[in-house]
């Protein structure tokens, strides 16, 4: 037995088609992110801690520990990882919340790293994941790339006045990268 409905006319099929395609892609993305979460929890990469913020797997928070023997040693750096809807077909957006003195990281925390950009200018591949991205970011922190700088002043200083760069970087690490709460950076 059926309950009645009135019959009207009109067409919205294209919109619905798009919604459905988005649904399928979303399910695929969630499944992958769940696996990534598990891996981040069970076997986190060296010096990296990362966890999802909230339940929707759209935003992750991460902490990098500065590598020993570098000017960032002893620092605790907070980051934010934003996972786009089209992930893994688009790279995650990674941003430092802690203030860093670095040729490839600007004052807003943005990072210049080719892995975080789409080809042809960047080298993002869907085979990379949050874990490998954070490992690369930590590597970039220890070994800056002055040939592709975001902060030209710091890059020049890094190349030609290394002691001065090292002193400032150490100072910033001691000053900003010691707190458990990244919001502290705003106060100074």
């Amino acid at each position: 037995m059926y309950f009645p409905c009135s019959v009207m006319s009109g067409e919205e099929e294209k919109i619905i088609q798009q919604i459905l395609e988005e649904f399928q892609v979303m399910a695929q993305r969630v499944k992958r992110l769940q696996k990534e979460c598990q891996q981040l929890k069970e076997s986190p990469p060296a010096g990296v801690t990362c966890w999802p913020e909230g339940d929707n797997l759209e935003l992750f928070r991460a902490v990098l520990r500065g590598e020993e023997g570098t000017v960032y040693s002893g620092g605790i750096f907070h980051l934010e990882v934003e996972v786009p809807e089209r992930y893994p077909f688009l790279p995650p957006k990674v941003r430092f919340l802690t203030k860093v003195y670095h040729p490839n990281i600007d004052s807003a925390g943005r990072i210049c790293l080719d892995l975080l950009k789409m080809p042809p200018s960047g080298s993002w591949r869907p085979l990379h994941n949050i874990s490998s991205v954070l490992t690369s970011v930590r590597l970039l922190l220890s070994s800056p790339n002055p040939d592709d700088p975001l902060m030209t002043d710091i890059a020049e200083e890094y190349q030609f006045q290394r002691p001065q760069y090292e002193a400032t970087a150490k100072e910033w690490t001691a000053k900003f990268a010691q707190s458990d709460d990244p919001e502290d950076r705003q106060s100074s």
Partner: protein, 377 residues
């Protein structure tokens, strides 16, 4: 947006649709007065209300029949499917509440088709109650079970109409090649069961072989093998896997073998197979035979796919099964397997990829060498 709004209001309704089509149907449950009631919603013009039909179990139907005027009113004033279903939910909840009050006053009525029930009871008794696994409250459908010679449990789902036994019942059985029978009204369901059990008996050898494969080898596909499945996808290692399709009539004979993997690795195996296929020995076990013919060892069962996941899953979506297919699109250079759908999604987001006819060419996400992919339908 319309769909996600709909789903957030009715999370227990599952949309069903053909690929790239709006949901033409929702199946699942709607909360009616605190109880989840099974409903089916047809939405030919989702998200709009037109043509929408809601069907439910008989209990709910009988309750709502007296509130038809309210539903007609609700349908006139609704513009979206969501709006109408919400009103439907409200009307039904109200009807259930009134009925509960009536029930307390002792006005409970159960309407059963007496002659049908009597006839069915007699037929089921004739079959033996041990064979009856489940009967629906209104006596229109039931499930029968039986154990075959190999101690495997089989189920037969039967749905009868008011005209039973003259009218043929609808039956569902998990058998390879479907289940066909000549219905004899004088025998009723007993005749169907006799044919069914004869079919089960004739398939014993087939299932013995299938069970043996499942026990010994790691099965990639089907994800949950059923009795009707005649194929198994087995992992050979080295990014090569083989799909064997058995004949239910001659399960110990040479099966149809289809190799999947990078062609540089599958080609030698295929060549070998053209020479060795005559050496298939019906006396040997299936897996041993297969290993002998292919010259490759079959990966053994080791507690599910979890152990070899890294090796077989698609590195883009991190899963083995996606939209019903396996990662069957290998890179011919580095041999990494991808799902065609995942690979296409990636290649088509690259400006450097070239598309001609239904083939897209780009760089392998793993080794950056050339890779081509058929555009999935």
């Amino acid at each position: 947006m319309a769909l996600s709004e709909f789903c957030s209001h009715f999370p227990l309704l599952c949309p069903r649709c053909r690929p790239s089509k709006p949901p033409h149907e929702f199946c699942g449950f709607v909360d009616i007065g605190g109880v989840d009631r099974e409903v089916r919603v047809e939405t030919p013009h989702f998200p709009r209300v037109e043509g929408m039909r809601i069907s439910s179990d008989t209990c709910l139907q009988e309750l709502v029949v007296s509130h038809m005027d309210q539903l007609l009113e609700a349908q006139k004033t609704s513009s979206t499917a969501l709006e109408y279903l919400q009103k439907f939910q409200k009307v039904c909840s109200e009807a259930v509440r009134c009925d509960n009050r009536g029930r307390e006053e002792g006005e409970l009525q159960v309407e059963l088709n007496e002659s049908l029930v009597r006839c069915l009871l007699a037929h089921l008794e004739g079959l033996g109650w041990s064979r009856v696994q489940q009967v629906s409250p209104n006596f229109t459908s039931f499930t029968l079970q039986t154990r075959d010679a190999g101690e495997r449990v089989h189920l037969l789902r039967v749905r009868v109409a008011d005209g039973y036994p003259h009218e043929e019942p609808t039956v569902e059985a998990d058998l390879p090649g479907g289940f066909e029978f000549n219905y004899e009204p004088s025998e009723g369901v007993a005749g169907v069961v006799r044919v069914w059990e004869a079919r089960l008996a004739s398939l014993q050898e087939f299932w013995d072989v299938m069970d043996q494969i499942d026990k010994v080898a790691l099965v990639l596909d089907p994800p949950t093998p059923c009795r009707h499945h005649t194929f198994r996808r087995l992992l050979l290692g080295n990014q090569v896997n083989v799909q064997v399709t058995l004949s239910p009539q001659q399960p110990r004979h040479l099966p149809q073998c289809l190799l999947f993997g990078p062609s540089k690795r599958t080609r030698p195996i295929t060549t070998r197979l053209t020479h060795t296929y005559e050496e298939w020995d019906a006396e040997r076990s299936f897996v041993e035979n297969l290993e002998h013919l292919l010259g490759e060892s079959v990966v053994r069962e080791c507690g599910g796919v979890e152990g070899v996941e890294q090796e077989v899953e698609c590195p883009i979506c991190y899963s083995l099964h996606f939209q019903g297919s396996l990662p069957d699109q290998p890179c011919e250079h580095c041999c990494t397997p991808f799902h065609a759908a995942c690979l296409y999604d990636w290649l088509s987001s690259l400006p450097a990829a070239r598309q001609s006819m239904n083939i897209i060419t780009g760089e392998c996400p793993y080794c950056s060498k050339n890779i081509t992919c058929k555009i999935p339908v």
